[in-house]
Every structure is written in C-alpha cells, then in structure tokens.
C-alpha cells in the first residue's frame, strides 16, 4: 500500500516536472555535458571559506570566471534575499540552499533542473539513496549535495563519568543518564532543547520513523503530528519537565554561557557542531572532555540528517552550462575541499571527499575519533524522508508555538499547531493537501 502511494506520487511528480521543464526550456536544446562552456558567473553562499573555493576554481581553468558574494545565512535573511533576487531576475547563477528549503525553491520555479548540464554518472549517481532523495524531485535533479550532516550527540565525557553512566545508546538510557547526572550535579542539564531549531525536531522525528511530508497522488500528505512525532514530543516533554534538558535557543549567548559554565553538558547537534562547541568551551578548560556519539535511538541504530546544504542553478542564470561545471567542482572535487581549508568538521555527501575534509580539520580538541562516529551515524540514516513544498511555514509555526514552552506550553501542542498551520498555509497557496 505504502509503496504504491509513493510510486503514484513519484509518477505524478514526474509528470509535473516534465511540465516545468517543458515550460522553462527557453534555452532551447539543453547542451550536452561534454560541451565546453565559458563566461562569467556569480556564486552566492553564506558558508565560510567558499571565497577561497571560488578562487581555486578560477585558478584551475581559464574559461569560466566565478564572482563570489557572501550572503547572510538562512536564519539571518539569506533565503529572503536569494528568493527576492531570483524573482526580480537578478539572482546569482549558483546558489547554496539547505535541504529543507530546497523543494520550496523548486516549487516556486526558482531553480533550473540540472539534467542535461551535469555529468550524472560522475555526480548524483554516486550518492546514497537517502541523499539523492533530498535533491531529486520526480526524475529531475535540482541540486548537487554538498554536505550530508548526520545528527550527532556531543557529551562532556567527564560529566558522564561523574554521573557513573556510559554513553547512552537508547533514548531510555539518555533519560536515565540525565537523572543520574541530576543526582550528582543538580544544576547541570544533559542537553538543551532548542525551540529555535525546528529542523532539529524534524531530525528527531525523522529518526523515529516519522514522515512529515509525502505525496499521495496529486496531493501532499502532511503528518507533522504523526504517531512517531507524538512519541518524540512526549519524550522530550518528559525530559523538559524533569529538567534533564534546558529549554534555550541554540547559538544564543545564554547557550554559550551555559556550555562554558557546565550548566549544560551535552549538545544535540550534527557533525558541524564541533567548531561551535570548541569555540564556546575552549576558554573554560574543557579540552579533551567533549566526545561525539551517535544520537540515542529507539531500540535499533537509526539516524537522520540535521542540516546540510546543496548547490543549485537558479532561474536567473543565463549561463547554466558554466554554472553546472562550477557546481560539479564544488560538490565533487577534492581540490575544492582542500581550498576551503579548516572551516569545521565537514562531512561530505560525495564519496571520497570526507577524508580530505577530515585532514583539514584539527580534531585534537575532542576526546574521541569524531569522524569514526560520523561514519557510523551516516550509515544508519532512516530512509524515506521527504521535505515539504514550503518548509518555512512549518518552521515559523513550530518555532512560534515553542515560544510558549517557558510558560507551561507543551511540545505536543506545538507540533499540533505546526501541523494545522502548515495545512492551512499550503492550502492558501492553492496546493492540494491531505492530512
């Protein structure tokens, strides 16, 4: 039954994408990847070090010149800028978009399909199915994935030892560990619950087998408060009520201060959290104490992506062939990873790149082999997750509903609110939605 629905969805997606490509092919016959493109293209990204990557690309060949521009990250208005610019026709040729936002840019007709421009056999075909699912809609590919960010749990090993517990394997272990930690350090929290990160709630639900978005025929199926998510919501509510986790915005001053002081001794994040943890705790002499671990699970190893970006060719690009050459370099070349240098503990989707990133990153701050943990986590990503056609509706609704957590609001109510806000919002855009 389920497989049939998916199949139906895929077929209808193919039909609609065929329609878009039909409408959008003003650039006549798509050039073959073997053609030799040239010209100047622009590239927008908020990721650190991307200017150096663009420089390296310019130095490596003489036909295509890339002009790089740093833009704010998504949370700080980067997507608003990008979306407005593309609509106005003066967007960049190449943009950087995170996976949750990708379908919405596709659905708004702001991106060009890469098929016909990229060498598929050397790029997308080499990716895992879970990653491919994030950038392909129907039979069209709209992005090349850059990083694949498995959700990772970071702990202060010394505090776990003090509490007399090992690294929690399951969520039940995690709760027990939290209680024992409370017993030895009443002021400490095992982790924080981040109301500003709806994508983290999504990752937790994804890990538990939830499917927030899916297609059923010509309709979207929205399940933000599905059974698996309810289980997750009730579990975290329990942790919040017992003060095992602290409700606070991640990346806020409060969070930074609590990590430094030891009021919070764990971070539920991803591979990319390493630099942030190091920066915030280095001055408090916590070197060697932090370890990476697979996120606790519900009984058998499972994980989800939390974050990660992809490279795309926007509708405004007049030179998609040149743009395609550049994003192939960005997403698959070891030279690109080398050029970027040490900008954090990157974990990349394209096979063979992660070892290069690992070499560039100095992980001596951490008490274990963090990349070995990333590898394990990456191998257990739960398949079948899909992002919806307008993530920002859900994102806003969930974040806003979490605002009530400090005055008696419940996590479960928040996911219910997000569900109804998403359904209403999508319907207002004219989309067909089933709950």
């Amino acid at each position: 039954m389920k497989r049939r629905q998916l199949l139906l969805g895929a077929v209808s997606l193919m039909a609609t994408t065929a329609l878009i490509t039909g409408c959008g092919s003003t650039q006549a016959a798509a050039p073959t990847p073997t053609e030799d493109p040239s010209g100047t293209i622009t590239f927008w990204s908020s990721m650190a070090g991307m200017d150096k990557v663009a420089e390296a690309f310019n130095a490596s060949q003489s036909k295509i010149k890339v002009t790089f521009e740093t833009i704010p990250n998504g949370g700080a208005g980067g997507y608003a800028k990008l979306s407005t610019a593309i609509t106005a026709g003066n967007g960049p040729d190449v943009a950087t978009i995170e996976y949750p936002q990708l379908p919405q840019f596709v659905s708004n007709g702001q991106l060009q399909p890469l098929d016909g421009f990229i060498n598929k056999a050397e790029t997308v075909d080499k990716l895992t199915d879970e990653t491919k699912a994030l950038v392909q809609f129907g039979d069209a590919t709209y992005a090349l994935p850059y990083d694949a960010a498995p959700m990772i749990m970071w702990y202060r090993k010394d505090m776990l030892d003090k509490a007399g517990v090992g690294v929690p394997k399951t969520w039940q272990d995690f709760e027990e560990a939290g209680k024992k930690l409370k017993a030895v350090a009443p002021e400490a929290h095992l982790a924080s619950f981040n109301p500003n990160e709806a994508a983290l709630t999504a990752a937790l639900s994804w890990q538990a087998g939830a499917k927030w978005f899916g297609t059923e025929g010509d309709s979207w199926k929205v399940g933000i408060n599905d059974e698996a998510t309810q289980k997750v919501a009730n579990y975290w509510q329990k942790l919040i009520d017992q003060k095992i986790v602290k409700v606070q915005q991640s990346f806020s001053d409060e969070w930074s201060a609590d990590l430094a002081s030891g009021a919070v001794v764990g971070v539920l994040g991803a591979n990319w959290s390493a630099t942030g943890i190091q920066k915030r705790t280095e001055a408090s002499g916590q070197k060697g104490q932090w370890i990476a671990a697979e996120a606790p699970n519900w009984g058998s190893p499972a994980d989800a992506f939390y974050g990660g970006s992809s490279f795309n060719i926007t509708k405004s690009s007049k030179n998609p062939a040149a743009a395609a050459k550049f994003i192939e370099f960005l997403a698959t070349s070891q030279d690109a990873v080398k050029a970027r240098g040490n900008t954090g503990s990157a974990f990349l989707a394209y096979p063979g790149l992660t070892p290069v990133a690992q070499q560039a990153f100095d992980s001596s701050y951490f008490g274990n082999d963090i990349y070995a943990v990333f590898d394990k986590a990456y191998a257990s990503i739960t398949p079948g997750w899909q992002w919806g056609p307008n993530w920002d509706i859900t994102n806003t609704a969930l974040k806003d509903a979490y605002g009530k957590l400090t005055s008696g609001g419940k996590v479960l109510d928040a996911v219910d609110t997000a569900q109804s806000a998403t359904v209403t919002g999508l319907k207002q855009n004219g989309l067909s939605v089933k709950e």
Binding site: L19, I20, D218, Q249, D253, E254, D258, L426, G430, S432
Partner: protein, 318 residues
C-alpha cells in the same frame, strides 16, 4: 522600529504663538518658480512612496495560486478581499495587534509621562545643570535602534547579563526574556530610546511659554509645581499631541527591537507584532500578496489612529 520623523521640534513649537499668515504675493511668476523647486520632491515622492503604495494595493487583491503538488507554474488570479480576510482571520496577526495594544498601554504612559517630567524638571533647573542634563537624557537616542536592541538583549540574557546575576545574588531571580516579562522588557528598550528625544521636543515647547505669564503666576503665589501643572502644561498641549501622534504611528511600526530580541529567546515569535507578521509572510512564507494586504491593514490602522489623535487634541485646544 519605533520610527518617528526626525524633523518634529520645529513643528512642535510652531503652533503656540500663532503668526498671522502673510498675504500671498504675486501668484503668477511665483507659482512657476515654486513648481520648479517642488518638482524634485514630488518626483521622488511619487517614485519612492506613491508608486509602491499603489503597487502594494494592487498586489493585495491578487493571489498566486498553485495547484496539486505545486511543482507547476503558479497562476495569478484576482481574489478581491480574500487576502484581507485571511490576514484578519489569522490568529497570529490579531494576536500581534492585541500585543501591540498592550504594548501601547505600558509604553505611552511611561514614555510620555517620563518625557514630560524630565522636560519640566529641566525647565525649572539652573542653566548649567540643564545643559548637562539635556545631553545625558538625549544620549540613548543617539544609539541606533539595532545596537540598542543588541545591548539590551545582552543585559537581559540570563547567565550573561551582569544585571541578572546581581539580582540573583540579591535573591531575586528574574528572567527578563520569559513569556511574562518579555513585553515590559521590550517596552523598557523603547522608553530608554525615545524618552530623551521627546524631552527635547517638550523642552523646546516649554521654552516658548511666555515668561510674563509665569511671572504673573508667581506673583499670584503659585509655586513651581503649581505653575507647571496649571500654566506650563496647558500651554504645551499642542507639542504633547504631536508627540502622541508620532508615538502612536511609531508604535505601529515596531519591528527592529523584537526582531533582534527574537534571536535571544523563543518568547518573541516571528509574527510577534503586525510588521513582523508582514515580513514573515513576504520573506519566509513567500506569500507577497498576503504581506501586501497586511501592510495595507497596518497603514489603515495608522491612518485611523492618527486621525483619532489629532481630532482628540484639536478638540482639547478649542
């Protein structure tokens, strides 16, 4: 942003001594010269103000409708007042208006009362103290709104703020950023920012109060307080009403401070006030038409409130 037009002081003092208007001289050639000088203003005004407003109005009557899964081209269709209905039916939008009303209830008495008190004190003080006082009171206004919000966000954040930790050592545990405290906390930022500015307007108006009237009051035995309440206050009412007008309009445009604070706490949602709602609609939910409708509603509210304020104050004068 609590925006207020920066050119108010002169407007504030003008109404008091009414100068009879000179009869218009030579309307023939003067008109042409005037037109020449006015053209640049109206050209910019038309491009930067009138055109966007008309465009927003047009946008607000249309909707981008997709169908099915939404991966096809979107159709633009005329929907009449549907966007307006959707905005007004949205709980987050009406909630934002309620929050704004509550904000006014705290903010306007605090700020206007404070400004009035400071202005009267300055008017009564000796000259040297007055200059220093004027500078000190005005200084916060010289800090840009974004910076002010960042500074206060730091001062409010538990674990970081020296204020919070001092209070804690004194046995008072107060979270300025939780759901109950967030509104007063943001009111406090606005009061800190805007009191000084309004003190200057009121003080200028006070300086224009004819000294002979005050002397007469003193001869009649009025002390400083009595003179302030019975003489100065009625005479600066026009300036007060100008302040009220700009404050009300500025309040409707509240945006910067809550947007900045929202990074520090989940208590400030992304649709916390109507302006943030419009921003969210346009740039997060990608529904420009709804955002346009929301903006027009905000503008209409500002128009109605301004009308009410001017109407109320002109009746007071009569």
């Amino acid at each position: 942003m609590v925006t207020q037009a920066p050119n108010t002081p002169s407007a504030a003092v003008k109404p008091i001594p009414r100068i009879p208007r000179k009869p218009r001289a030579m309307s023939g050639t003067g008109g042409r010269t005037a037109a020449l000088f006015l053209t640049p203003f109206f050209a910019v005004f038309a491009v930067a103000m009138v055109a966007p407003v008309i465009y927003a109005m047009v946008l607000s009557f249309f909707a981008q409708q997709k169908s099915g899964l939404g991966f096809g081209e979107a159709k633009t269709s005329f929907v009449g007042l549907e966007n307006y209905l959707q905005v007004l039916q949205s709980e987050t939008f009406t909630g934002g208006i309620g929050r704004l009303a509550l904000y006014c209830l705290f903010y306007i008495p605090c700020m206007v009362g404070g400004a009035l008190l400071f202005a009267l004190l300055m008017d009564a003080a000796v000259a040297r103290a007055r200059k220093l006082f004027q500078l000190l009171v005005f200084l916060p206004h010289a800090v840009p709104g974004v910076i002010a919000a960042l500074i206060w966000a730091y001062l409010y954040t538990p674990g970081v703020s020296p204020i919070v930790s001092v209070l804690e050592t004194g046995g008072i545990s107060l979270n300025f950023l939780d759901n109950q405290m967030i509104l007063p906390s943001i009111v406090n930022i606005a009061v800190w920012e805007w009191t000084g500015y309004n003190v200057i307007i009121l003080f200028t108006a006070l300086q224009a109060v004819p000294r002979e009237i005050l002397e007469a009051a003193r001869v009649d035995g009025a002390g400083e307080i009595r003179a302030a309440i019975s003489i100065k206050l009625p005479l600066i009412l026009p300036a007060l009403s100008v302040i009220m007008l700009f404050t009300v309009i500025g309040t409707l445009q509240l945006f910067t401070e809550p947007s900045i604070i929202s990074k520090a706490t989940a208590s400030v949602t992304s649709t916390w006030v109507p302006n943030m709602w419009a921003f969210d609609a346009a740039f997060n939910r990608h529904n420009l038409n709804q955002a346009a409708a929301a903006s027009i509603i905000i503008a209409l509210m500002a128009a109605v409130l301004s009308w009410a304020v001017t109407r109320f104050s002109s009746r007071n004068k009569a």
